[in-house]
């Protein structure tokens, strides 16, 4: 084991070479500035090209898009009118009955409680409008996803292409393709709805491919021998066997659609919860945004439990707890109730009482801000000086009397180099890999991430991409980096990477610690679970207001908002990984006399390394997906570029910035999950 670590592998040699190259480029950059900052003269009008390429296509497809808009809006309008017409007591009764039939008593109680809470908060009508959006978006996504998945199953040669497309659909920021959708489908909810379909289709496709592929060959054979035609074989043998997996796809698609319907509100034209959240964000009312965010969380948890409950029932083939006849009677009763209430003219909706209760939260928040301002200013300064400035400007950029108490004299530079070399030598005694890592850290701390030579960045990212994904990943990485360079977005891109990197470091330190603690204590785990659920389903906008009040506009607040959203994966996966370590190994090391500390660091965490790696991957993806939202609190990175493009209705500019963000996410995903493919993208983990 020790021998292995001390002898450099080929990977170590590669990284050592890259380190030497980076140091040389950093030094050379002092005399040849074009080596370190992306040359400003090398710009190409990429976004204009994108416009020139895409706008004619949009223009051509516009009549088609425009003619489907009324159809979509008519369906949406009908569903919406129906949902808003039904008095809430009847609707709650009906949904509870369906929940009981499909998933059992526990989910029914959950349904009753959460729906009553929605009524109590005072957002019933808006919640029904949001539900109408989901009810159009989900079936569309499911049908499309199933179709594409079945096609990929029939024609395996298409699969790599389809999977690449799915990756792009899941990582491309929706704000960036809103303008094209507006051009195609006109102003109104249809454009936003289709944005949510783009995001919600991929999980259905993935699950369809997995489900259809996992049907045992014997079943197909016996069906074929029984004389089934190809169509029958597909619909009567394959699909029923794959149904549980397809229903998992339905569950994930529903969650994805719900998380995205907020986007509809950016365009407007629909009085839904997303609009409430956006208006509250605009007026900086935390109570109102929290209340409406809570409604989304309740809807999400309910839809999640119901769809995953249906998936589980179909797997277990249990008898439903309520007979079909009783269900019909119950539904008739609900209809009767609805008619009765309508005739009597009772809405039974509570007034704005609860909402004004939520408004008190704002006053408390203000008091809290006044009371805690010095403490939070201290925290902000500590992280800004300790982590953000060094990562952004580097030691060389931030060495001023005001920050470090010294100026950058040759003596200071020499001292820095000496300390760095000392640390590298010290680390080399542990392993070559540690030495190289220390070297990179020292270099990064010197130049800062945005100031890191672009040539070295290109070499490092290229090498990492080549090693994990071969030529096509290298091509993807190079396309992202070079497009960023020539469109003058190199610095914003590095700012984005830097913001995500700092957020991931914090998430991993904090979330990892919480995950480790939760793995030891069932009570903490039970406390964290609903918090995690809420953090992940709460619309991301809601995090912004309290963070703003405590930490002011700027990168730091953006960082806090990103951390709040991206901290969930490390907590979940680290806990899950530690809890599923094989008990016999743990027992064996206990008997060998391992202390709890040794047990954690030398036995459990190494064994859970797959889960830890997956946590890292998911944290990075969550952080990148939060960039565009975080731009609302004032950042200067790619997310902001997407907004600027949206406000100027410049489709090309948004598409270019979006493509760079998608590239960052895709390359990071591939490089980080090299060892093992993660399970399909899930918003909420399955509960038992």
């Amino acid at each position: 084991m020790t021998n292995d670590r001390r002898n450099p592998t080929s990977a170590d040699r590669l990284w050592l070479g890259l380190l030497v190259l980076s140091v040389m480029l950093t030094i050379a950059g002092r005399w040849f500035p074009w080596l370190s900052g992306f040359p400003t003269g090398w710009t190409l009008p990429v976004s204009q090209w994108a416009n020139a390429a895409f706008l004619p296509i949009f223009e051509f497809a516009r009549p088609f898009g425009r003619s489907t808009t009324p159809v979509i809006e008519a369906v949406l309008g009908a569903i919406r009118a129906g949902l808003v017409w039904i008095p809430w007591p009847a609707a709650v009764l009906a949904i509870c009955l369906v929940a009981l039939r499909a998933c059992g008593w526990r989910v029914m109680v959950l349904a009753a409680l959460s729906l009553l809470a929605v009524v109590g908060i005072g957002y019933w009508a808006q919640a029904m409008n949001t539900l109408a959006l989901v009810l159009v978006s989900v079936p569309t996504s499911v049908v499309l996803g199933f179709g594409v998945g079945a096609l990929a199953h029939r024609l395996p040669r298409l699969r790599p292409l389809i999977e690449a497309l799915l990756d792009v659909m899941q990582t491309y920021p929706a704000f960036a393709y809103l303008i094209p959708l507006l051009l195609l489908f006109g102003f109104g909810p249809a454009a936003g709805l289709l944005a949510s379909v783009v995001f919600a289709v991929p999980p259905m496709v993935r699950n369809t491919i997995v489900g259809l592929g996992a049907v045992p060959a014997e079943i197909i054979e016996s069906a074929a021998m029984a004389g089934a035609r190809p169509g029958q074989l597909f619909w009567q043998a394959r699909v029923p066997v794959a149904l549980p997996q397809l229903l998992i796809g339905l569950n994930q698609t529903t969650m994805a659609a719900l998380s995205m319907v907020i986007i509809v509100a950016i365009i407007g034209g629909f009085d839904d919860i997303g609009w409430e959240i956006l208006s509250a964000m605009r007026k900086a009312e935390m109570g109102r945004s929290l209340a409406s965010g809570l409604v989304i969380v309740l809807l999400a948890v309910l839809l999640d439990r119901m769809t995953s409950g249906i998936a589980r029932q179909s797997r277990l083939r249990r008898a439903p707890p309520i007979a079909g006849r009783n269900l019909v009677i119950g539904l008739l009763l609900a209809a009767l109730l609805a008619t009765g209430l309508k005739l009597a003219g009772w809405t039974l909706l509570p007034g704005d009482g609860a909402r004004s209760l939520f408004r008190h939260l704002d006053l408390w928040l203000l008091d809290f801000v006044a009371w805690s301002a010095p403490a939070f200013a201290l925290l902000r300064n500590a992280i800004t000086y300790g982590l953000m400035l060094p990562m952004r400007l580097g030691f060389s950029g931030s060495a001023s009397p005001m920050v470090w108490g010294l100026t950058l004299t040759p003596a200071v530079t020499a001292g820095y180099v000496a300390v760095a070399l000392g640390l590298v030598v010290l680390a080399a005694r542990r392993s070559p890999r540690a030495a190289v890592a220390t070297g990179f850290a020292a270099l990064l701390f010197w130049s800062g991430l945005p100031g890191f030579p672009w040539t070295a960045t290109l070499a490092i990212v290229g090498a990492a991409a080549w090693r994990s994904g071969g030529p096509w990943l290298l091509g993807l990485a190079a396309s992202g980096l070079l497009i960023a360079g020539v469109s003058g977005l190199w610095v914003p891109m590095m700012q984005s990477i830097y913001l995500c990197a700092v957020a991931v470091v914090i998430c991993f330190a904090l979330g990892g610690a919480l995950g480790i603690a939760a793995a030891q204590s069932d009570r903490l785990s039970a406390v964290l679970r609903p918090i995690n659920d809420a953090l992940q389903t709460m619309p991301q906008f809601v995090f912004l207001i309290p963070a703003l009040m405590l930490f002011k506009v700027g990168e730091f607040t953006a960082l806090i908002a990103i951390v709040l959203y991206a901290i969930v994966p490390p907590i979940r996966y680290v806990e899950h990984g530690l809890r599923t370590v094989r008990p016999d190994v743990v027992e064996a090391s206990r008997q060998m006399g391992a202390t709890p500390w040794q047990m954690l660091w030398q036995v459990k965490l190494p064994l859970a390394s797959d889960a830890v790696r997956l946590a890292l991957n998911q944290t990075v993806m969550a952080a990148v997906s939060m960039l565009v939202i975080a731009a609302l609190v004032g950042t200067r990175e790619l997310g902001q570029e997407v907004y600027v493009a949206l406000s100027k209705a410049d489709a090309g500019r948004g598409l270019v910035a979006g493509w760079i963000i998608a590239c960052i996410a895709l390359v990071a995903d591939r490089v980080l999950r090299r060892r093992r493919a993660p399970p399909s993208h899930a918003t909420l983990p399955e509960k038992t």
Binding site: L278, V403, G634, S647
Partner: protein
């Protein structure tokens, strides 16, 4: 008996001809006029008032919640019929384009008395006695209070969101003030920060505009600006115009409504009163605008009369 009947008939005939004449002027009165409901409370009030006046004239009105920038696309296509509170200092790039193409029509001012400039929470006058003069921002002691790690050694100036354009940075440069303009990302971010600053007594100088509901809640001062170096929008802040904008087909489809909207005005005082009521929850958007319509028939009746005849 016959006489009364005859009289009745004549009256009926007269009435029906009258209503026929009106209907012709109303245009497509059975097709709803779709008014934009934008994100901020001022615009929502203006749009509700316009809608209620149009309803009094016999129109059907639908309110379409819409984002400020995207809604110009809707106006140009006729998906939205009219938008009554368009701040011409913040229209993005679609507006000038579709206006030039003749897809939308600017039908004149809404009548608001507006203001735009640099503001600070009132307590800062104790910390920087030279306020409200802009000279206070040259005083190192005052600038030091505004400095943050991001802007050191300069003071921090909270600017409009990046997508609204940054005139403040230009003006800071024109007067070589020791300030760094930091883009705020969104309106909500600006309000949150102003509230927090007033509550925690942390110094702040920012770009802002009036009328705005937050000004009823937080006591602010307006900085007396330095003289402009150039008389252009970039170098000089002036009170912005707020106009009403309709889809190009509006006048033809609803001729009377077009005239009514042209005459439609909202005063700053009225709007601020309603915004305050909304903000402290003494009324809903429905109730405050209903109350205005009930109390101000003398104001809106002439608009309808002039429009319909």
């Amino acid at each position: 008996m016959t006489r009364t009947l005859a009289l009745g008939t004549t009256m009926l005939v007269a009435l029906s001809t009258l209503s026929a004449a009106v209907a012709a002027d109303l245009g497509a009165a059975n097709e709803p006029i779709r008014l934009a409901m934008l994100e901020w409370s001022g615009a929502q009030i203006s749009s509700q008032l316009a809608g209620k006046v149009l309803e009094k004239a016999g129109y059907k009105v639908e309110y379409v919640t819409a984002g400020n920038y995207p809604h110009f696309t809707g106006l140009a296509d006729g998906d939205i019929s009219a938008s009554v509170e368009v701040w011409l200092n913040n229209v993005g790039e679609v507006f000038p384009k579709v206006l030039a193409e003749g897809k939308i029509e600017d039908i004149g001012t809404l009548g608001l008395t507006t203001n735009e400039g640099w503001i600070y929470p009132k307590f800062m006058e104790d910390l920087c006695p030279a306020l409200p003069s802009w000279e206070a921002l040259k005083d190192p002691a005052c600038v030091g209070l505004l400095a943050t790690p991001d802007t050191l050694p300069n003071g921090r100036f909270l600017d409009y969101p990046a997508d609204w354009g940054s005139r403040a940075a230009t003006i800071i440069a024109d007067n070589s003030l020791p300030l760094t303009a930091v883009p705020s990302g969104s309106e909500g971010a600006m309000i949150a920060e102003l509230r927090a600053a007033a509550s925690a007594k942390t110094p702040l100088v920012m770009m802002f505009w009036a009328p705005h509901f937050i000004l009823a809640e937080v006591d602010v001062g307006w900085i007396a600006m330095p003289p402009c170096t150039e008389d252009t929008n970039e170098h000089c802040i002036k009170a912005p115009d707020v106009d009403k904008v309709v889809w190009s087909g509006f006048a033809e489809k609803w001729p009377a409504a077009y005239e009514i909207l042209k005459a439609f005005r909202v005063t700053t005082e009225d709007q601020q009163k309603m915004m305050l009521a909304l903000d402290n929850q003494s009324g809903t958007l429905e109730s405050v605008t209903d109350a205005w319509v009930a109390e101000n028939e003398a104001i809106w009746k002439p608009w309808i009369d002039a429009g319909v005849n």
